[in-house]
Subunit: 446 residues, 4 copies
């Protein structure tokens, strides 16, 4: 309430009580002020009350042309169902975010939605900076694959002649399809086996560039996210190569915000060479529903070029989800989640001493040998193993943000039980059938 | 948001958009201002947005000793479940309303709850005044029966010797029990049959007073609500009698706010004679859940005496429900509901030309002959017919606020069908078994 | 969904996925089955999903006469505002709980509300049994004071001649007013000072009984809840005395469920002597909003007599709040809360070694000397100290369920600061002005 | 609840009441059964209770791997914030809809989300069929512009050599950018002026095709939505032309579902010629927040090809919104909204007899002369007038679904006032400054 209404309240209940009340209000306002002033994720998470108060304030700012001016009563921005209006905090989100010209642009008559959009981008950027990456970014209501597509489509305007994208193989459908959908020909570069790890074959990448001609290559499309035994791409070396050859470099960093290692690789790549944009999933890194991504880069003007490439307005729903989540968690809560994830993974390593959790893995799944898969006309041999011929079948398991010690323990118990059962039945070593633990979850984005 | 935060917002999105937003907010504030200033039910109903904004503002005023002062984060006034906190709009309703000294009193550290309580009483009073009744009142989280008990207990302190309550018979359990519970002996005065109507037997009331001695009588306890063929008590005559004999007069007006006739009777009674308090149900008159009542009277000091009789704090839930409802409906919406109810009843009368809907009835039920019922040691013959020996069995049906033309039509259709079926089977006229229409609803408070 | 709808779903998405879904549903149903079967508080708390699913199932059971039978669409049991309907989980709570005859009775046409009511009473009883008290009980939508009034009013019917209630002094308004409101004369028995503790003066109680005559005494009204330096009443001795003298015994156990000591006193009292009923607050013991209480006793028929004394139906809101809370916490969660409270109090004792936290205290307040207070015509000298002449002024502080170590620490820091400030200014020892720590909260029910 | 739990309930409250309850439940199940069986929008809208019961049932089906199998308690599909979980009905929407292979595909372990997705597509299709269009369709969480881009990207794989898109000019940024973003060169065909209407210049289209060569043209991109004085494109003639020339034909039908005229044009075009896909906005046609579209076509395999082009999973949020909306409105409610919109427009026509509302207009805005705008390198003269040189400036106004008579009246009043004010000040006829009515809303998707 404004000061006038507080004064009126003092006539109804006593002045001192109302002052306490107005002071209480001020403490919420204070938190909001800090957010508006600094545009940073608050160190301590807000209470749900403060979050909801803030959102209702923003929402109220959206509806000006109705309640005040037209006198016809609020109409929820012409949302037909009150269940839908409530779900969107009565935001006049019928306007969504952005304008035709730029998905990050401010909207007329929707000051609240515009603030929501700007603040979300700013808070998310702050989180990226926590891991030392100094970049520019925006949230887009597209899943990771489609966001990569948008990056490729933007590059097309800079390199109209280019037809190829150089792509160190990773067996995940969406990122492969992202290139196909954008209308380019993916040039798959097989990985090399070092120990039990699959790593970027830098020489093969170089050979391909030479073979096809740098000017015909849209970009190098590398990946930080790994599915053991495939490890993150050699970002530094690829970045140097791209800089030298004057080829754009787009990084699929789908799971990477939650991993200090991935973020470090990106920062390093950008420092020593060239990274044009890197894309991360909202759901995988921020525990929100599927459907949003962050597109980031080190050159603000290129990031803006991408945001201006999106034709029309877009759903504010993913922005809303990630803003609520980050305000509720606070920077400290988010860092705590990350360190828990790390502890669980690392703990598992120590505890098990096995290949299962030797590295930052994502998604529990069994990788048999010799599976073939055709996507967009391209046939992958040994699909899911990121290699035409990985030496043995194996199983890998997820350790994404939000995982707890209990999850790991339980999963191990069940796996153990499965393996014992199988051993009894036959001989597990010779079995090629999948060994799926009951609590597996496929978080690979497939 | 306060003006400082609006200014900061102008640095994020453009000044003119933020001004539109702040203007939008002001239009909500304006509605709230009017409410605080006048304490009246707004003529036009508020949008749900405005209602929720207002409630969240009030709730925020309650939590001062937590978020601001103690720095330990908001804890919802120590409400354990977030589902419960949300249900109560995060009000620190753990404090409820009132204090030990007075259920209508202001609470320290709960400016929001206190405002809620005061405003509810004020808005409800405004609604009573719509029907011309100028009184003082407060909302109490007790159903009608218990509220009557509270009135009787209050009177005991004024008339410590009194043991009897004079009560023109109405066959409804709660109001009878209200007297028993308060520790008094109800003196049941049978009604007289005039035509097919049962009316107050004034002479019998006078005889009883003379017989028992006015000083031994706590009060006359009359009833406006009727269940045809019992009509409202002769309030004017009873009020004159009470004034003359110096006996308090408490009116059970359970369903009466929605009826201009009942309200008129009360206003007249108070004008020409004596009415100390009249009690009305929240659920029956305002379409909210069961559990609250309005205790009203014409002497502010006596009303306050009752409110001070309640030992301790009380639930704010019924106050919250009725405030939300009245703000949402607005005075015009409430009047519209009432006139619809009236139209439906009257329309039914015309249409049917039968005894079923000849008067303002409440609760569809079949009244057989000769039923006996014992309550609190008192045996009623012909229970439910308000008379020892009503001449014939009959059926009556509800026409409470919220009823629609469709309800009436459908109910009649089904009744017709039932009657036809019964006729076929046997002979309805001789049947003494209940004829319950499928859409009946017992709204008699039993 | 029922099995037919699951089958239909299998035609839309694959059979195996739907079976997983139906299995998921079954796991919720399983929890609900246990609750219905055993009527006990689940050991592990339910997720909010399960709680909401359960409530929506119950609510759906209420609305039968609308959606199905009358074909006029659901109308929320004639609740006018959708905000209100939502707040009550769309229960047809317009019916509330109970019937005129009995607040614990089942309602026709409101199977869901009836189940809710029965289950709440059953789950709450289970919680009482956790502390070894084997009793009968019901939840009533009245705060503690009014619940005590209801007990006294019930006893009046058993002892029509009685005028007095013997009451070992405790300086809390509501419980004193409860006797006045019920129409009885409180006979205040001053406490005796043993060390720095104030305890029941048993001999004085006996003298009063002899003086007034047992048949003129409605009951002894004792208190477990303490406000240091007043300690819980000598329940065992009072119970024996009441049994011997054939006088009913009502215990004000407002804060007691959370204290194993209070519960033990009650169980012992009932074992060796006579306790007719004991009353506990919902908000103080279960972290729900103000407005409900549990009335319990060892004689089921007397407990039922009380529940039948309530005239009419009543609000289901407090029952709903406590059921949600207990299902969410589970028995283990509730026990954990209690043990945290205990640890915090005890820890404070050790840490401070001072009189401040030497015993289980409730409500932080400064007790000056010589304050006079008149309630219902009775003047208390030295009000708030439970004694006409306590030797020194003091400060006590709350340690209710929900308190955390942080609260205690912070409160101590601030108290320390206050005291230092005061010392500087003058001389604290001579100061008679109140020393209110900024984070104090008056949880004494006043 | 399942039958076992209903049986258990009968032991707690009476059998007959529980049966009423279970019958009530069955009436909701019955509505759900019809939906699952027929996959159609229910004729009558569901109550919010039924909608929420249905959604909670679906959501419960999603969480199987947590509550039941792993025993670690439900974790909201690893959604960090309970506010976010609640906003998404606790759906495990972290999985969103679709799979990498196909956005319309069923997801493992998310039977509820999968059902939601399938049913939404099916119900939306049913609505399209209401207007006589027999097609295949799916909902995509992309706004209209991006959905068009997806169509163009899909066509690229069929016509790898094509570089141009023929586009009869309409001055709306998003649809123009959609072509640029997809990497194609828009070939703008100016409209011809017939009377005061701007219409497709068919001859110019034919000339362009001849000039560029059919095989170099990706598609013709036409528009049904009009912004007066531009009228819908000549769909029939364009469709015939496309069929003859073997050129794909994509229709931007952004606002068209609400207009029987637009839908008829599409059905006709497909009957006599070729329409490959037509795209409509969810927000503009179904009163939901911005961010979703329906991609539809007459060849199921091509529609599926588009849905398979989307790389990865996607947000289920727009699907959820449109499903809630259509279930709540019902087919009859939706048709009523449409007819109201029509009545309002037509009424306005009659009433004003002016050029302002002579046709189905969308978005109130003033169109000055001579404005230049450059988008994606292409400069439009006379931007916003769909013509290089429209003869005069004008104003047009929105009449989208949800508009009411009051809106129109009020808008006219204010416009009138503005015009009068301007006249006084100067001479309106000579003024070239924009005349913006205060209640204008730009709903053009810009």
């Amino acid at each position: 309430m404004n000061s006038e209404n507080f004064s009126l309240s003092e006539k109804i209940v006593s002045t001192s009580y109302v002052r306490q009340g107005s002071q209480a209000r001020r403490s919420h306002e204070q938190l909001i002020r800090l957010l508006l002033e600094q545009g940073k994720c608050p160190e301590e998470g807000w209470s749900e009350s403060t979050v909801e108060l803030f959102l209702s304030e923003l929402a109220v700012m959206d509806s000006n042309n109705f309640l005040g001016n037209c006198g016809v009563g609020e109409r929820e921005g012409r949302v037909a169902s009150s269940l839908v209006a409530r779900r969107h905090y009565r935001f006049k989100l019928i306007h969504g975010i952005g304008r035709s010209g730029d998905i990050a642009a401010v909207q007329p008559k929707a000051a609240g939605s515009s603030l929501l959009n700007k603040l979300t981008n700013s808070v998310v950027l702050d989180i990226l900076k926590l891991s030392g990456v100094v970049a520019s970014c925006f949230v887009v209501p597209l899943a990771t694959g489609m966001s990569l597509t948008l990056c490729f489509l933007t590059l097309r305007h800079r390199r109209p002649k280019a037809r190829y994208i150089i792509w160190p193989r990773i067996d995940q459908k969406s990122c492969f399809k992202a290139m196909i959908t954008a209308g380019f020909e993916p040039v798959v570069v097989e990985n090399v086996l070092e120990g039990d790890e699959l790593r970027t074959d830098l020489e093969a990448v170089e050979r391909k560039i030479e073979e096809l001609g740098a000017e015909n290559i849209l970009c190098v499309h590398s990946t930080t996210s790994c599915f053991a035994p495939r490890v993150p791409d050699r970002l530094e070396e690829l970045s140097i190569l791209c800089a030298k050859q004057n080829i754009p470099h787009i990084v699929n960093n789908a799971y990477g915000v939650q991993s200090s290692k991935c973020m470090h690789l990106i920062q390093q790549g950008a420092r020593v060479g060239r990274i044009d944009a890197f894309v991360q999933s909202l759901d995988k890194n921020f525990m929100v529903p599927v459907g949003g991504a962050i597109i980031a880069g080190f050159d603000e003007s290129f990031v803006q070029e991408i945001s201006q490439m999106y034709p029309g307005r877009a759903s504010a729903s993913p922005s809303l989800d990630v803003l609520i989540t980050l305000l509720t968690l606070g920077a400290s809560g988010y860092k705590k989640l990350l360190s828990e994830r790390k502890a669980e993974s690392d703990g598992a390593v120590t505890q098990l001493g096995s290949m299962l959790f030797t590295r930052q893995v994502s998604g529990a799944r069994v990788i048999p040998l010799g599976k073939e898969q055709t996507i967009g006309g391209h046939t992958f041999r040994g699909f899911m193993s990121h290699s035409d011929a990985y030496p043995c079948p194996y199983l890998n398991a997820a350790s994404a943000v939000g995982i707890t010690r209990e999850d790991v323990t339980l999963c191990m118990k069940r796996l153990d039980k499965c393996l014992k059962t199988l051993k009894k039945e036959k001989n597990v070593a010779k079995s090629s059938s999948p060994v799926l633990p009951p609590c597996q979850e496929d978080t690979t984005g497939e």
